[in-house]
Symmetry: C2
Subunit: 212 residues, 2 copies
Amino acid sequence: MIDQVSLPETRSRILFAAMELFWEKGYQSTSIADLLKRAGLHSGSLYHVFPGKQDVLLAVLDLYHDGIDAMLLTPVWKDIADPVERVFALLAKYRELIVQTECTYGCPIGSLALELHEPDPPVRSRLMANFSAWVAAIERCLVDAGPRLPHRLDRRALASFVLTTMEGGVMLARTYRDVALFDTAVGQLRAYFDRLLDEARAVPASRKPKRT
Amino acid sequence: MIDQVSLPETRSRILFAAMELFWEKGYQSTSIADLLKRAGLHSGSLYHVFPGKQDVLLAVLDLYHDGIDAMLLTPVWKDIADPVERVFALLAKYRELIVQTECTYGCPIGSLALELHEPDPPVRSRLMANFSAWVAAIERCLVDAGPRLPHRLDRRALASFVLTTMEGGVMLARTYRDVALFDTAVGQLRAYFDRLLDEARAVPASRKPKRT
């Protein structure tokens, strides 16, 4: 079995094993031996495609980044056109992951961001790129919401706050093993959004877009 | 030097070394040897006071919990009477810690909550107790704010959301090595608070407390 595995196949097996293991037990607790065992490969295989464990991490972070649309956003948003509801649908996806994992879910990027106490610059730049891609997707929703949100609202700042809420909510739900902690955070964010939507609704009619 | 160290002194040296090391490099990356070296103790010392590394962790978490007033809240709040400003003064303290550590700051409790992928029940119960004590302190501020906040506001939920904001903001500031990410989160929380305060101000005068 071992020698017939092609290099691209070896690479993808290692990457998917690493995604699972880094998420399940953390980067530092995952050994090269764990990776090979999960991937069903022998010990020489890794070095043909990744010089070391950090190279696996870099490739995993690139995979999350490059896959954000296909793996996360497109499936979550396929039946939702309303840009504000897209924000909450994405948060609802995290709720689903929390429930599915019996409240042990951790955001893979957020967990690595706190687990790695002194990440090397290439690791940190990829963690940033992942957060930035997530925030940019939310910012697009908020821009698409147009005049439904206050004109002067900093949409980038609110998008970043949505990420803060998700990450903090996931952390608390995981610690308390109770999705209610996540629901509380999202509920407060929703209450803030409701006020912003009300505010925009209250501006003079002349400043609103025409309605049919 | 070694044998003259009393048991209580040994215990406190180990605890303070552990607080530093778990915070600097994480729990899993800290070895017993690291603890002893930092504490300036010899290898037999630990076992006289702590059977294992997890026992050190439990004691550290108890210390954070029992010290929340003396180590954190009392110094931060000593010159601030306004309960709403107390909330933001506590967040400003975290900002100070982020700046002092050149944006490498991590909340010791939040970092452990994500670092430990399957914490044993006694560890997790102490992480929860720490979060709960922090949230309870904020909730007291929000209760003390009385009619300045909307009557129907769930003050416990908002207090929990303040923690979510702090934890998410610290995570992002640390990842981007930029305190601006924390400022953005706190700025959005402040914008939400401003709206809540405005709302309470707008209720009919008959429902407001008497003013002089």
